[in-house]
């Protein structure tokens, strides 16, 4: 008797793990890492060189930083039943403002110049977020349309800022955003993880998370309960724009330049994917920042895996789409129900066999 009981307990734990929201994204992440390890046995190797941590895993976190940043902001926007398509354009504007300021500044290599440039870029992002929030919360335009305005116009603004030129900067402090290290860790990854931790603390320690969810779950009931939905919605769009701006700065710092046409192009799609893979419903309501973290890391690992296992560059997008579709399908309520049903009869038949 004790033997089957133990196997059943194990089964139960297993079942609970499988039904956990993040089981499939984590399983996909694990699978991808395993594939990489088979293709390149040294994939997990991490070494310290000149006091900096190097290795594929570190690269993944570093390269995934922009998508993670944008994804964090996107998570909160989506939780309020919204969406922000303008994040890519906002990233481009942030990069453009910072780079152009540095180039035009007399002391273009100074640390102070970089600090001012970054502050200016983020201030512009706040204004852009206020604009999005205004269209959604005050004017009442559907979020997808409201943010489409800035998605299209934003690239134009970035072009105007850079004068249509690819602007190259030479400022070590600015470049450090992407390639610098702090306590052996890459700065970009630290920024993204720091923002993640700070956001997690703010939404769960203050009432922001609860109020965001209430607006997303039932806007009318929120209104009647006296929730200041307008303020909440405004807050999340400003925050999303700030996150996008930070991502844009990291991308610009990485290439020491800004190309208004391509910086952050399609990053909104990766960010939305990260959110969805992480289990936050596009219908709004309950959200999971940890889920978005897993989603963003999955996307970053995927991007790394494709060349590593020798998939031709042309098949890049197709492969990415395939993995995303599989993860989303496995997470869908229908697939869960099917898996649940298939799992359930097994213990009963076991029990019968034992009896």
């Amino acid at each position: 008797m004790p033997e089957p009981t133990r196997t059943m307990a194990v089964k139960e734990v297993g079942a609970r793990a499988v039904s956990h929201r993040l089981f499939w994204p984590l399983a996909a992440l694990g699978t991808l890492l395993a594939i990489n390890l088979i293709a390149t046995p040294t994939f997990f190797n991490v070494r310290i060189q000149d006091g900096h941590l190097y290795g594929s895993l570190v690269d993944i976190v570093r390269n995934g930083a922009p998508v993670l940043l944008v994804g964090i902001g996107m998570t909160l926007v989506i939780a309020t039943r919204g969406i922000d398509l303008s994040v890519g354009a906002v990233a481009a504007i942030a990069g453009a403002v910072a780079c152009v300021y540095i180039v035009k500044s007399p002391a273009d290599g100074a640390v102070g110049t970089a600090v001012v440039a970054i502050s200016m870029a983020l201030a512009v992002c706040v204004a852009l977020g206020l604009w999005n929030g205004f269209l959604v919360a005050v004017v009442g335009i559907q979020p997808i349309i409201a943010t489409l305005v800035l998605m299209v116009a934003g690239r134009g603004i970035a072009m105007l800022v850079t004068g249509g030129q690819i602007t190259t900067v030479n400022n070590d402090a600015f470049a450090a955003l992407a390639s610098g290290h702090l306590l052996t860790l890459p700065v970009a990854a630290l920024i993204a993880l720091g923002v993640f931790a700070a956001t997690q603390i703010v939404v769960r320690r203050t009432a922001l998370g609860l109020l965001i969810e209430s607006v997303g779950i039932n806007p009318e009931a929120s209104r009647l309960a006296g929730v200041r939905s307008r303020t909440i919605i405004w807050t999340v769009y400003v925050f999303a724009a700030l996150c996008a701006g930070a991502a844009g700065l990291i991308i610009a710092a990485n290439t020491h330049s800004v190309n208004a046409n391509s910086l952050g192009l399609w990053i909104e799609l990766d960010a939305i994917l990260a959110v969805v893979i992480g289990g936050t419903s596009l219908a709004g309501g309950r959200f999971s920042l940890t889920g978005t973290l897993v989603g963003a890391m999955l996307i970053a690992t995927l991007t790394r895996t494709i060349p590593n296992i020798g998939i031709p560059a042309e098949a890049n997008y197709l492969f990415k789409a395939l993995v995303v579709v599989i993860v989303c399908l496995l997470q869908s309520p229908k697939a869960r129900a099917v898996l649940q049903r298939r799992r359930e009869p097994i213990p009963t038949s076991r029990e019968e066999a034992v009896v």
């Binding site: 203050t206 009931a221 929120s222 009647l224 929730v227 807050t235």
Partner: protein, 526 residues
């Protein structure tokens, strides 16, 4: 009435003993309905009586568990709405289900446009406009078929919807609350069209909450209550009072006197106090005519009236949930004008429990505790979270005080029964310590145990000095709890008096404008 049966023509539709069950709820229980050609048949009943379920059964939206339908005497059970339409049953809903940016003619012939050359040929616009114009003219509707539908007022769109429905050779036309957003002239126009159709032999099913309209247009009434037919009458042989009694299920003989000795003293005391809230001429087009109402501390004001009388609308206007067009609202002497939003109202210590718990009250995915604390948290703003200790204390306190079960505040609220969900919503507002509590149907759809608990709570709150507005479809409940009674009818306040020696019968008299004793006599005769 049995004599009338003899000379009646064959019914177009006959539903026999139809039953429909949703889970444990029996929505229709052995319901029979006969629709005769050339008659306007009103379907009457309060919320949840089964009117919409019956309509959906008739139009093939729901399949039924038991019972039969005969069309022209031939057995027929439609599995789909399309099949019902094929059989000549068309429905026009309260919201116009047409395409506003197509023309009137395009809407009328949508899906069966006349083609040139062959079935796959291009649409023959001239023929389409000609046909549409002919049908509109036939019904006496004066609209240009080439004009865009969305450019017309709702009333005209509704007439076009009817013209479209009838144009598909409808022999039965179902009008589900077609008049709820129309003004008097528009209603007259609609009735004209309905009469014309009736005279052409169409059987019309009419659902409306306006009693006067029912008596103006209908020939026959079927009254539903709790999923059962409680009467089929000829309209001319029925009085408004009798109809209302059937709808809300009062047995005159069985009415008990309600003891209000305690109420009177409280009410007299209230008279000496200053008003907590006073509304002057508060109104909104299409929902409530200008209404005066004053609330005092420690007093329960009961709002009586049928569904659609404006009882919910009054509460929403007082709370700022809908913006009033006219009138002033003074809360605790601070002469503000009107309340712009619920937030504004809550800041003035008002609280409002909506009748629609699911859509306007609970956050299904959130826990009981979160649902309970949301009102207070919303007032504090997101930067000032309620400390965990305070929160736990408040939640525990109200879980016990209101006897919320299961007593686990971490459960999602959707796993609680309706009555317990309602208690959580009450707790949400009580935690904000309001001066005025507006309760719209707080006891609807909940079991009898929870119902008495909530009634007791209302009485206690008033005893502690809160001003409560209590709205309920159940007159008995309103009379039992309130110190003062306000009666609404057809979106107007028609009476306000202290609840002294008033019984259900008196309220019905006020609503219908007919003496109750007379009905008692008629009943005795029957």
């Amino acid at each position: 009435m049995s004599q009338a049966d003899v000379k009646q023509p064959l019914p177009v539709v006959e539903m026999l003993d139809v039953s429909i069950t949703f889970g444990a709820v029996r929505a229709l229980d052995g319901v029979s309905l006969r629709l005769l050609p050339g008659e306007v048949h009103a379907l009457m009943g309060e919320n949840g009586a089964g009117k919409s379920t019956l309509i959906k059964a008739l139009t093939g939206v729901y399949t039924f568990d038991a019972g039969r339908v005969r069309i022209d005497g031939v057995e027929n059970q439609f599995a789909t709405p399309a099949a019902a339409q094929q059989a000549g049953i068309s429905t026009v809903y309260q919201e116009v289900n047409l395409v506003p940016n197509l023309t009137v003619a395009e809407n009328m012939l949508l899906g069966r446009e006349p083609r040139r050359f062959s079935r796959l040929g291009p649409i023959d616009r001239r023929e389409m406009n000609r046909r549409a114009a002919a049908s509109l003219q036939n019904l006496g509707i004066d609209v240009d078929p080439g004009s865009e539908l969305g450019s017309h007022p709702i009333a005209v769109q509704q007439l076009v919807a009817i013209a479209r429905a009838v144009d598909t050779d409808a022999r039965v036309l179902i009008l589900d609350e077609p008049t709820s957003s129309l003004d008097a002239d528009e209603v007259a126009r609609l009735f004209e069209v309905m009469r014309r159709l009736r005279d052409q032999g169409t059987a019309i099913v009419f659902v409306s909450h306006f009693l006067d309209q029912i008596f103006e247009i209908s020939d026959r009434l079927t009254i539903l209550r709790n999923g059962r037919v409680v009467g089929e009458r000829l309209t001319e042989e029925t009085t408004q009072l009798e109809l209302v009694q059937l709808m809300i299920g009062r047995d005159l003989q069985a009415l008990e006197r309600i003891d209000r000795a305690a109420h009177e003293t409280a009410e007299e005391a209230a008279e000496r106090r200053l008003p907590v809230l006073s509304a002057v001429g508060l109104g909104r087009k299409g929902s409530l005519e200008a209404t005066d109402l004053t609330l005092y501390a420690g007093e329960v004001v009961g709002i009586a009236g049928l569904l659609g009388s404006g009882r919910t609308e009054l509460a929403r206007l007082l709370f700022g949930a809908d913006a009033p067009d006219t009138g002033d609202l003074t809360v605790k002497g601070s002469s503000g004008r009107r309340l712009r939003s619920p937030r504004h109202a809550i800041d003035r210590n008002l609280a409002f429990c909506s009748e629609d718990r699911k859509a306007e009250g609970v956050f299904e995915e959130l826990s009981v505790a979160d649902n309970m604390m949301l009102g207070l948290q919303a007032s504090r703003g997101w930067l000032r979270p309620i400390p965990t200790a305070t929160r736990d204390k408040l939640v525990a306190e109200y879980m016990t005080a209101l006897d919320i079960r299961p007593a686990d505040p971490s459960l999602p609220i959707r796993s609680l029964s309706g009555g317990n969900q309602q208690k959580v919503l009450l707790a949400r507002w009580l935690i904000t310590e309001p001066d005025v509590l507006l309760l719209d149907e707080p006891t609807r759809g909940i079991d009898i145990g929870a119902k008495t608990q909530i009634q007791q709570l209302v009485a206690d709150l008033a005893g502690k000095g809160m001003s409560v507005v209590f709205i309920s479809a159940e007159l008995e409940e309103v009379l039992r709890l309130s110190h003062r009674l306000v009666v609404l009818k057809d979106r107007r306040k028609i009476a306000e008096r202290p609840n002294r020696d008033i019984d259900v019968n008196d309220v019905l008299e006020i609503i219908t404008g007919e003496p109750g004793s007379l009905i008692g006599k008629e009943r005795a005769d029957a």
